[in-house]
């Protein structure tokens, strides 16, 4: 099992409790922390005073390490090793992947309210996509033409998905009663019937 979380989530009691249990029960678990340095507006330094987030594993008695999260190959390697440990019954691993949030938190966030554009632009030099591209181009395993092809394919796939969503009608109002219980209790069935009646203007 791989659990992916952010730097902010490591401050939650739930995370500490999960590590405590993982230490005792030694489940086949990899906790992958994408430490992008910002939990909305709260920077890593204001989130936790520990030198690393990976070291939170030490107190729980499980393995932990940091990896350069902007190095896709390094992340692949360390996660694979942690998965081997998990499969071999050697217990859980915390991996802290160090990266940087180049974008806003969400489309309703405006990161310029709380961090400098200069800080952000410096981190673009460490863009993991550019690094992987440079490395693979050096190996003659990647080309501009191939990349344009990949990007065009991906863009087309996303446009198609967006068009599908925009062209779809909303779910029927009864959808909110789906997946609530395996068998809908009679009281809820009555509410569902009421919603249908309201949709039909029959109230």
């Amino acid at each position: 099992m791989v659990c992916i979380l952010g730097d902010g989530a490591t401050s939650k009691g739930d995370f500490q409790e999960a590590l405590t249990m993982a230490g005792v029960w030694r489940p086949p678990l990899v906790m992958l922390i994408a430490n992008n340095q910002w939990a909305i507006s709260v920077p890593r330094a204001a989130q936790c005073a520990a030198e690393t987030l990976a070291q939170k594993s030490i107190a729980a008695g499980i393995a932990g390490e940091q990896v350069d999260g902007n190095d896709a190959i390094a992340v692949r390697d360390r996660v694979a090793t942690a998965l081997e440990r998990a499969r071999a019954g050697d217990g859980a691993t915390v991996i802290e992947a160090l990266t940087y949030r180049l974008s806003d938190h969400t489309t309703s966030d405006d990161a310029r309210r709380y961090r400098d554009d200069t800080e952000v632009s410096e981190h673009w030099h460490d863009d993991p996509v550019a690094r992987l591209r440079a490395y693979m181009t050096g190996l003659a395993a990647w080309s501009r033409a191939h990349e344009e092809h990949v990007i065009a394919d991906a863009a087309a796939e996303m446009e198609a998905a967006a068009a599908t969503w925009l062209g779809s009608s909303r779910q029927p109002v009864t959808a909110m009663f789906d997946f609530l219980f395996q068998t809908l209790p009679s009281r809820l069935a009555a509410q569902r019937a009421q919603v249908v009646a309201e949709e039909n203007g029959d109230v």
Binding site: S11, G13, I40, S41, C48, R113, Q171, V173, Q191
Partner: protein, 326 residues
């Protein structure tokens, strides 16, 4: 006196309270430079400094727990929990500690804290950003629960909550943050924390509700007037302690009551009002008590939220059912 939105009124209240009492502190996620995700604390860090406006780590149970300790030691913490769905993580601290501090210490320690959080749908967010969980807190002995529904009432009620000597859960309907403007005096006048607001008088039916549904109740009353039905509209505002006297007096006059809330029906706070009507109000009733509420389902995704949130149409239907009696 200027016209402000509800979120601006809340900001004015926080600033007033911090100016009048140096013990008032704000704690929450992203409330500093970012000014809170809804901007309720915008500018307060610059004005009052980082020792009074604390951006916290992402740890709601910790935020509530620290505030319980601060409150017990003479501070007046006002906590912002970013969304209602994150407030449940504070329940252990609020229920087991904040609400019980005075009792356990037999009055030696108290817990004058306020826990603010947005509530309700209508902002096109996922379900854990859109809930109405007031009943969870209203069932905890020792907590006051307040839900404002206009800029003016938000100002008076939040100021009263901050000045109150006991813990108050203050639930802010997110879709009302910027939906309307109203003059707010910003003169430090608090409202009573145990009074309903009668927003419109009428002799035929009582509409009682709170939070995000209050504008719909007023809209329904306006339409009913065109049908020669005079609806009395009561914003309950403070659920605990509830001003049942005002509701009972209204129902004694109208004989009919339609209770409106966005939270699910079963175990919702409307059931408490209905139960009290069935007691001391029973002999006033000409018609069965109606409840217009959310369904007993999880808040659906944005495209369906209008089908979940009870609006004017469902309120009108309930009133018409009630008017067939008597």
């Amino acid at each position: 006196m200027s016209d402000v939105t509800m979120v601006e009124a809340i900001r004015l209240t926080l600033a007033w309270a911090m100016r009048e009492d140096p013990a008032v502190l704000l704690l929450g996620e992203d409330i500093g430079k970012d000014g809170g995700v809804f901007r309720a604390t915008d500018g307060l860090l610059a004005r009052f400094g980082p020792e009074r406006v604390l951006d916290t780590p992402l740890a709601e149970a910790g935020i509530a727990g620290v505030s319980v300790g601060l409150a017990a030691q003479s501070f007046r913490p006002v906590v912002e929990i970013q969304f209602m769905g994150f407030a449940y993580a504070t329940l252990d601290q609020m229920l087991n500690h904040a609400a019980r501090m005075r009792t356990r210490t037999r009055g030696r320690l108290t817990c004058p804290m306020v826990l603010r959080t947005p509530c309700g749908g209508g902002i096109h967010a996922p379900e854990h950003h859109s809930e109405s969980g007031e009943a969870c807190f209203a069932n905890v002995p020792g907590l006051r629960v307040v839900v404002p529904s206009s800029p003016m009432r938000a100002y008076g009620l939040l100021l009263a909550a901050i000045r109150d000597p006991d813990p108050v859960v203050f639930l802010e309907p997110a879709r009302l943050y910027r939906s309307a403007r109203e003059p707010v005096a910003d003169d430090g006048t608090a409202s009573a924390l145990d009074r309903c607001f009668v927003l419109r008088e009428g002799a035929d039916v009582t509409l009682v509700g709170w939070g995000g549904l209050v504008p719909d109740m007023l809209d329904a009353a306006e339409r009913l007037a065109g049908e020669n039905v005079a609806a009395e509209v009561i914003d309950a505002a403070t659920l605990v302690p509830l001003d049942m006297e005002t509701i009972l007096a209204s129902v004694a006059k109208t004989g009919r009551c339609v209770i409106c809330h966005e939270a699910p029906l079963t175990g919702g706070f409307g059931a408490e009002i209905a139960a009290r009507l069935a007691g001391p109000g029973l002999l006033s009733l000409l018609a069965p008590v109606e409840r217009v509420t959310g369904y007993d389902t999880i808040m659906p995704l944005p495209r369906l939220e209008d089908a979940y949130i009870p609006g004017t149409k469902r309120i009108l239907a309930a009133v018409r059912r009630a008017m067939r009696h008597g």
